[in-house]
């Protein structure tokens, strides 16, 4: 029989409910797996074995599908009494006095917290190497990055530490690591999952979402998390969406569009091959492949995104001053020196760059030209997407133009960097849902692609994911550098 850690969320839950194994046995198997991989992968910032074993004492009391299921959380999600760092020195050993809404929902459903996992500092980065706690490595090839910023969450699921995890996506931070690590990741519609307790980067772009090894598991997590939260004013107020899994869904008559402006972009061969393969599968399933034109997005989305993300980020990071929590200095002469020393030492260089950029973009003499202009462009971008979705149900595109790069490898091709951004950032600007899905392997590296839906189409998007998974197959657990 397979090891328990290999089970996905649905199977693990069924096994627990049928009494085939106990929550302790499941946790022990996952924990052992994590321990054996961790020296190679380095996904954890904080391991919470003691907390998990306390939780296990109460397992088996809830009828929830999550009861007794181990998970990990990106370390920008607040956990009461458990260190939460956002991968920054500036938070020190801060232990939040409250739970993020998403963790509260999971905890109350009986999910077991195995640890808080690595990320780029304050979610700023796409390698999971820009962390005060060192770099996490890709479980398929430990010389490569797992992607970021939610690299720890993706690596832990890919390597079989846990069947599912949570991350956050401000400009691709769920979709890109899901793709590099060969699993499924959903960036939900803005407002569908409460952000309360998510340490903010760009508040109007941030969204929490799940990682898993099957689309069905994403559906299970979304069914729990997609509900109104009075603690988040941007949380949706409509009736809860229905994420019920139906293995027999189909795509007959659905329109799937390719973006005209992206067709000239260079893609690594495995990715362009995957695009062609998936198009064929979709047609085979009765879908209609079409084309949409997104001229405004192609031209302005990247600049617009950075202007807004950094403007919001620098105000979100103003609170880290050493007065109330986190890293501080005791011997500063005066408040100004205290602020300067705390922030100079506490923030990493990428975060500092973005704070400086955000400060400049909103500085009174430039604010109209950059920040205010970006807010207007954003409206145009959302309108362009809305028009596109009048003529299509989904947009199919890559998540990135290349597979997971080597750690430390810098792509000198600026144009490629710009194109990379174009695949992920516009989705956040328009608050759309985006699914990063596994298509297969090129050698030992996984290849992922992205399907985008209209706002609030998350259930339909995941249904499409079910069809794709049925045809493309589910990912295997990565070797984690140990086998």
């Amino acid at each position: 029989m397979a090891e328990l850690y290999e089970l996905d969320l649905s199977s693990a839950s069924e096994g627990l409910k049928a009494g085939k194994f106990s929550p302790e046995e499941l946790f022990d198997s996952c924990w052992k797996r994590a321990q054996s991989c961790e020296k190679n992968i380095r996904a954890f910032i904080t391991e919470t074995e003691d907390f998990a074993r306390e939780q296990l004492k109460n397992s088996g009391k809830s009828s929830s599908i999550f009861d007794g299921i181990p998970t990990v959380l990106k370390d920008n999600l607040c956990t009461q009494g458990i260190r939460t760092t956002a991968a920054s020195k500036i938070l020190g050993n801060w232990r939040p006095p409250y739970d993020a809404t998403v963790w509260k929902l999971l905890r109350e459903s009986g999910a077991i917290l195995m640890g808080k996992v690595n990320m780029d500092e304050f979610a700023m980065g796409n390698t999971c190497g820009n962390s005060a706690f060192g770099a996490t490595r890709n479980p398929h090839d430990i010389s490569r990055v797992p992607g970021g910023s939610s690299g720890g969450s993706a690596a832990a699921v890919a390597a079989g530490y846990v069947p599912f995890s949570l991350g956050s996506d401000t400009g691709g931070s769920i979709r890109q690591p899901a793709s590099y690590c060969g699993i499924y990741g959903l960036k939900p519609t803005y407002g569908m999952v409460s952000r309360y307790g998510l340490i903010s980067y760009g508040s109007s772009l941030d969204q929490i979402g799940p990682f898993a090894r099957t689309v069905r598991d994403l559906q299970l997590v979304m069914q729990l998390l997609a509900q109104h939260d009075p603690m988040d004013s941007s949380s949706f107020r409509e009736k809860n969406p229905d994420f019920t899994h139906n293995p027999n869904v189909n795509l007959k008559g659905k329109r799937v569009a390719l973006v005209k402006e992206f067709q000239s972009f260079t893609l690594d061969a495995p990715i362009s091959d995957a695009m062609k393969h998936v198009e064929k599968i979709l047609e085979d399933e009765g879908a209609i492949i079409t084309e949409v034109s997104l001229p405004i997005i192609s031209k302005y989305a990247v600049a617009c995104y950075y202007a807004l993300a950094m403007s919001e980020a620098h105000t979100n990071l103003e609170r880290y001053d050493g007065v109330r929590y986190g890293y501080t200095v005791q011997d500063a002469k005066g408040i100004k020196e205290m602020f300067e020393r705390v922030r100079s030492y506490g923030f990493g260089s990428e975060v500092k760059s973005r704070i400086i950029a955000g400060t400049c973009l909103t500085e009174p003499s430039r604010c109209e030209e950059y920040y205010v202009a970006a807010t207007k462009v954003r409206t145009l971008i959302a309108q362009e997407f809305a028009r596109a979705f009048e003529n299509t149900d989904f947009i199919l595109q890559p998540v990135t133009p290349s597979l997971a790069p080597k750690i430390g490898e810098v792509d000198e091709d600026e144009m490629k960097g710009y194109e990379t951004d174009l695949y992920t950032l516009p989705v956040n600007l328009a608050g759309l849902p985006g699914l990063s899905f596994f298509t297969g392997y090129a050698g030992k590296l996984p290849v992922g692609l992205q399907l985008i839906g209209a706002r609030w189409s998350d259930p339909e998007l995941l249904n499409a994911g079910v069809v794709l998974e049925r045809r493309l197959g589910s990912p295997k657990i990565a070797d984690g550098g140990v086998e």
């Binding site: 920008n76 307790g197 004013s233 408040i335 602020f339 500085e363 009174p364």
Partner: protein, 488 residues
């Protein structure tokens, strides 16, 4: 050479604490009579991951205050982040409506130097959060140079309304009338109690001078005035200071000055003005107020003081100055209205409220009419007893004092004062007269003999009776009853 004339051009910014049960962006209590840092939560402490959520009571109070200033409610307003670093500001930015306020374009009427009414335009009122409070060990009570400073975040997130006037104010006197009238109207609206001694109203003034020779002085922002008196003195000082500089041909610097109340001077702010930037608060959606909501809040708007005073003159026939006096303080006016509603004669009730109620409140240092022990209904009953001839005015005042001193009802007070209401009369009076006659047979004989031609003995008996009843009988009834008994 003709003498130069200087005209002050003054704009006033006022911060008022709105009256709500909970803070503006969280559910912490607004009660301040607690230990430091006890009414706090992740939101008002600005903890990572926390998000603000707008308290709708704050919105309604803001609308009420705005309507009291003759403003128009804006169907869409926005919140912004106003960035600066200071230890009392937990998020490093204040959430404020600064650029797109909830209400705008109102006015307050004041009297100019010639006694004519003039409008001071209110540019807008916007909602924002208060910051924490700092307590410094430095001798001057300021952060710079303090060895230890303490921060209390109980005040952080308290709901504030900032009211910004146009520069229509021309003197310290007008400024004081503007803020006094504004405060009175806001209290009437129910938006705030505006208790000055609790720091619920704070002022900043922008003062500049226009000279008849065409020169304009630059704008100086004067901060840190916490009372009407401080506002008046600070403006007067600043007008004098700027005039002096301009007379000597100097330049007024555009700067922020700090009012030092103890020394009675303004001094250039030592701390450089913070560099502020505004971005839209991404965690709060735009505040949309539809017509139905505006209508509902408008219908909640109580009568304003000037309207009420007019009604007192028309309906109650009170003199204008009495009506103005009563409506100046809302709770006093409410007390008077309650008396009238309970059936009191308005003129007499107005007199009692203005004289006796206020006298006792002053003597006992009672600040709020609500804390005054005698209810409007009781006062109305007391007034009714005077009108019904049951108590003399002197007796009623005695009873009133006793009630307020002892927190008791009318009957108990009347008894304790040794007063029998309406005096001794009827059968009771007859009994007493008979006993007085019985005790003085020789006087009776003398009267009956007809020797008392001048009625001296009769007067003597009357005197004895009055003494016996402690003066609480009507003299006419005494003499009538006495004659009736003697003639029987």
């Amino acid at each position: 050479m003709s003498e130069l004339i200087f005209t002050p051009v003054i704009g006033i910014e006022i911060h008022i604490r709105l009256k709500t049960d909970t803070k503006i962006f969280c559910s912490c209590s607004t009660n301040t009579d607690v230990e430091p840092n006890t009414h706090v939560c992740p939101v008002c402490m600005g903890l990572p991951g926390s998000l603000p959520r707008l308290n709708h009571q704050v919105v309604e109070k803001g609308m009420l205050a705005g309507l009291a200033l003759n403003c128009t409610v804006q169907p869409k307003s926005l919140f912004f982040r106003k960035s600066y670093f200071y230890p009392d500001l937990p998020k490093g930015h204040q959430i404020s409506q600064c650029d797109l306020p909830i209400v705008a374009q109102g006015f307050i009427e004041v009297h100019d130097a010639n006694g004519n009414l003039k409008k001071i335009r209110v540019n807008h009122l916007h909602l924002e959060e208060d910051v924490g409070s700092l307590h410094h060990s430095a001798s001057d009570g300021r952060l710079e140079g303090a060895a230890i400073s303490f921060v209390d975040y109980n005040r952080s997130g308290m709901p504030l309304a900032e009211i910004v006037s146009e520069p229509d104010v021309s003197s310290a006197k007008e400024a004081v009338e503007y803020v006094t009238t504004l405060r009175r109207r806001v209290i009437y609206s129910g938006a705030s109690d505006v208790e000055l001694e609790k720091g619920m109203m704070r002022f900043d003034a922008n003062v500049s001078m226009k000279c008849s020779d065409g020169r304009w002085g630059r704008k100086v922002e004067v901060k840190n005035m916490n009372s009407f008196h401080a506002l008046e003195r600070a403006i007067e000082y600043e007008i004098k200071r700027q005039k002096k500089i301009m007379l000597s041909g100097g330049e007024i610097l555009q700067e922020t000055r700090h009012w030092n109340d103890a020394k009675g001077v303004t001094t250039a702010s030592r701390v450089k003005e913070f560099y502020r930037k505004f971005i839209v608060e991404p965690d709060l959606p735009p505040l949309i107020i539809d017509q139905a909501w505006i209508d509902r809040v408008t219908s909640m708007m109580p009568e304003m003081p000037d309207v009420r005073a007019k009604r007192y003159v028309q309906d109650y026939k009170l003199p204008q100055e009495v009506a103005d006096f009563l409506t100046d303080v809302k709770d006093l006016s409410d007390y008077f209205e309650a008396c009238v509603k309970a059936g009191a004669n308005p003129v007499r009730a107005a007199h009692w409220v203005r004289t006796e109620v206020l006298r006792v409140m002053n003597e006992k240092q009672i600040r709020k009419v609500a804390d005054f022990g005698i209810s409007p209904e009781t006062l109305t009953n007391l007034i009714a007893k005077i009108d019904g001839g049951k108590l003399s005015t002197t007796q009623a005042k005695e009873v009133f004092d006793y009630m307020s001193a002892n927190n008791c009802g009318i009957d108990e007070a009347v008894k304790a004062c040794g007063i029998s209401e309406g005096g001794v009369a009827g059968n009771m009076l007859e009994e007493i007269i008979k006993s007085v006659i019985a005790a003085n047979p020789d006087v009776l004989d003398e009267i009956k003999s007809g020797r008392d031609t001048k009625g001296k003995k009769l007067k003597f008996l009357q005197g004895l009776v009055m003494k016996e009843v402690k003066g609480q009988a009507k003299p006419q009834e005494v003499s009538q009853t006495l004659e009736k008994i003697l003639n029987a």
